[in-house]
């Protein structure tokens, strides 16, 4: 065990110190960040003015929406079905529906549209609505307190108001308005709009698994070839078992990959946060001026209160427009996706890395790897191709079988889990099969490996490999 640790350590340290690792670590996040930030940024710049039809059954909010360069708010007075029908015929529409609720405190709104509303618009709508609701609740709370405590209360008494602004009240009035977006497609099919989000998450996750397997699997292979061509292999395997060397290399490279991955996430997050902060400043200009004014209109509140409220509310109301992506995405699925991602990421890599190590051991140089690479890469490429159709139809038999087969499950199951279309038993089965697959390929690979690393000069073929597998230790 001590020896395998030495091997892992050497593998890890030499790889992490490489220039290519450092360059990739810096470049990766810039690329990833640009994938996230650019569309979000572009989404805030709309060329055309979008007309937002507002069907406000409560009658509380419409007046508060102000037209700006990007949006014009138009009232609609009819029922929901009619509004949808008329607008859909017209095309290029966006309908904001604020339903009346029995308690008269609506906390959600629905946007019907034939396209994805921008985060900016959703932010704005939820911001306006939460502020309005908070104002209402605050008024109600204050009235409640006044009636309870000071029957002789006169408006304008500063000390009394200050007392009332207790923590409990602030907590009570905090409101987070949920905006559900429903995309209506041609023919009137409605689809909850968090589908694109889960699609996106599924695709990004499976793409990353695919890339990780390829990048770091190839690193394992090159490492084995390096040891073989530099002829250090025989020196090492006179000290450790070939299996220890192979596993040490695979684990070492996996740790390098995880390190890089964590650094990527950290850097990407940093870049996104910084750039988000920069581009949020622009948005805040409008909202912040608005807030004191709108609350001040109420007249009941003193200056101190005005200062307190925005401070508490702003971060919630404004939110983070990046987080907006996940607003509709259920938290429990997100956790499931993350756990599954880590698992499929790791075991998918382990399964393939053993095969890559076996290929490396069977050849004398990089050029000879081609013939053996094909059967290893085909299932990987196939799964990333099929992933596109699985997204459209995550319940199909093809999706099921490919999420069970260990060679394709890391990519396909990831898509299905993000779209929440895989029942628990299927996930458990797929995980079990993947672990079995990993044990199987590692066993097979170690047999090829231990013979292959000592073979020079002869060009090996599949018959040769089959013979090696059957050799006794």
């Amino acid at each position: 065990m001590n020896k395998i640790f030495l091997i892992i350590q050497r593998e890890y340290l030499t790889k992490v110190r490489k220039k290519s690792f450092i360059i990739m670590t810096i470049l990766g996040p810039i690329l990833m960040a640009s994938i996230f930030v650019l569309p979000a940024y572009l989404a805030t710049r709309h060329d055309d003015k979008q007309v937002v039809s507002v069907l406000d059954e409560t009658g509380l909010f419409f007046a508060k929406f102000e037209n700006n360069d990007n949006y014009t708010f138009v009232p609609v007075i009819t029922n929901l079905q009619q509004a949808k029908d008329t607008l859909m015929k017209k095309g290029d529409y966006m309908l904001l529906f604020i339903p009346a609720t029995q308690l008269n405190i609506p906390d959600n709104a629905v946007i019907y549209s034939d396209k994805q509303p921008t985060f900016n618009l959703r932010d704005y709508i939820s911001g306006v609505m939460s502020r309005e609701l908070e104002k209402l609740k605050l008024g109600a709370e204050i009235r409640k307190e006044i009636l309870k405590n000071t029957p002789g209360y006169l408006p304008g008494n500063d000390t009394a108001t200050e007392d009332l602004m207790s923590e409990t009240i602030l907590k009570n009035i905090q409101t987070n308005v949920k905006i559900i977006t429903i995309k209506t497609e041609e023919g009137g099919v409605e689809r909850k709009s968090n589908t694109p989000v889960s699609m996106g998450i599924g695709l990004v996750a499976s793409m990353m698994i695919y890339m990780f397997i390829f990048m770091f699997g190839a690193q394992v292979m090159r490492g084995v070839i390096e040891e073989k061509t530099s002829r250090i292999i025989e020196v090492i395997i006179s000290s450790v078992r070939p299996f220890q060397l192979m596993m040490g290399k695979i684990i070492g490279v996996a740790l390098v990959g995880l390190t890089q991955f964590l650094l990527w996430i950290a850097f990407t997050f940093l870049i996104i946060t910084v750039s988000q902060a920069a581009f949020q400043k622009e948005n805040k200009k409008t909202t912040q001026i608005e807030q004191p004014k709108s609350i001040g209109q109420d007249g009941v509140l003193s200056n101190e209160a005005v200062q307190v409220v925005p401070k508490q509310v702003t971060p919630e109301a404004d939110g983070d427009s990046f987080n907006g992506i996940f607003d509709d995405f259920p938290y429990d699925i997100l956790v499931k996706v993350l756990v599954a991602f880590f698992f499929y990421f790791l075991f998918g890599y382990l399964l393939y890395a053993a095969l890559f190590a076996a290929i490396g051991s069977a050849v004398d140089n990089d050029a000879d790897t081609q013939q053996f690479m094909l059967p290893v890469t085909v299932p990987l490429i196939l799964s990333i191709v099929v992933a596109q159709t699985v997204i459209q139809n995550p319940g199909s038999p093809l999706a099921f079988w490919m999420s069970m087969i260990p060679f394709t499950s890391p990519v396909i199951m990831m898509v299905r889990i993000s779209m929440d279309t895989a029942p628990m038993w299927q996930i458990v089965l797929s995980i079990g099969l993947l672990v079995l697959g990993f044990l199987g390929t590692t066993w097979l690979a170690s047999k090829i490996y231990r013979t292959g690393i000592l073979m020079y000069g002869k060009k090996s073929n599949y018959r040769e490999l089959w013979k090696w597998i059957r050799y006794k230790g």
Partner: protein
């Protein structure tokens, strides 16, 4: 006996690499493992190093069956050897020494000592690819012996060294034996076998065809032949005509004749001289001792000829 192989057989599919090979390596000797290319030497060495296992037979180390615990007691310098090219010399030597079971601290201490001995301290922080091949071989030698194993296996240790370094290495090998190590030495260089080896085993086509101490083998292959150099008396080589005495060769050059005679078992060198002394003036006289080279070639050829006859 530090190492005993008991009728070891190893097959790769249809191909038999070793067929019931038995060898015995006594303590504290230099043991030559000889044989033509592809005879099975490397396979036997790999079995001793536990890189592969035998299909049949067993290998005993210090009287006990070979066990992974023996790995730190064996040092192996393979014929095909190399180092990680991009890694620094010191770091790499430390890594390899630790793989043999030394602690980081101990490994560093011993390596520093060896580097001083070879006057190569300046290489510690250099990358291996910056060194010449001969320099790399030196590092490799140090790495092989640094954990002070009981048994050392050198496969063609002198290849790639210049004559000065060959001497340095030979002295180190002799020094290691003096300190109590046993050395298995695989080579095609028969001159170094004569010079260094106490015992040998000769392997040909997966089978051991000869083994024993060098002295015994030479005695066994001694053919009772003598070489005599003399000046002629009348301008022609003397024609020996004695029953049972056989002239193997005779070269005449500017008045000096060099001839080799084989005597019947009953006769000795004095008998030959008795015949010759009255007739010629003797310049030099000596036994013809078979060289390891001759023994190697004649034994291997004889066995191969038999194989051809059988098939």
């Amino acid at each position: 006996m530090i190492l005993i192989a008991n009728s070891v057989t190893k097959k790769f599919g249809e191909f038999t690499a070793l067929n019931k090979v038995s060898i015995e390596v006594p303590d504290n000797c230099i043991f030559g493992l000889l044989g033509p290319n592809g005879a099975g030497k490397t396979t036997l060495i790999r079995i001793i190093n536990q890189i592969t296992g035998p299909d049949e037979g067993e290998v005993l180390f210090d009287g006990k069956r070979l066990h992974p615990e023996n790995i730190p007691m064996i040092g192996y310098l393979p014929e095909e050897r190399g180092l990680y090219k991009k890694m620094k010399v010191g770091e790499q030597a430390l890594y390899l020494a630790q793989l043999k079971g030394l602690s980081h601290h101990e490994a560093k201490l011993r390596l520093k000592k060896w580097f001083e001995k070879f006057e190569i301290q300046g290489w510690w922080d250099k990358k291996v690819e910056e060194l010449s091949k001969g320099m790399q071989q030196k590092i490799q030698f140090v790495v092989t012996v640094v954990h002070e194993p009981k048994l050392l296996i050198f496969d063609e240790p002198f290849s790639g060294f210049d004559p000065i370094n060959v001497n340095l290495l030979r002295d180190e090998i002799l020094e290691l034996r003096k300190k109590g190590s046993t050395i298995i030495f695989s080579t095609h260089n028969m001159a170094s076998v004569e010079e260094l080896c106490d015992n040998i085993a000769l392997i040909n086509k997966a089978e051991k065809i000869l083994d024993g101490s060098v002295k015994d083998i030479k005695r066994k292959y001694f053919t009772n032949s003598y070489q005599l150099q003399y000046r002629d008396i009348d301008g022609t080589p003397y024609q020996l005509n004695e029953p049972g005495f056989e002239i193997l060769s005779s070269v005449y050059d500017e008045g000096v004749c060099t001839a080799t005679y084989r005597l019947p078992a009953s006769k000795g060198p004095n008998d030959l001289l008795e015949v010759m002394l009255p007739k010629v003036s003797v310049i030099a006289f000596n036994e013809v001792i078979p060289s390891m080279n001759d023994i190697f070639i004649s034994t291997v050829n004889a066995v191969n000829a038999n194989h051809i006859l059988e098939s």
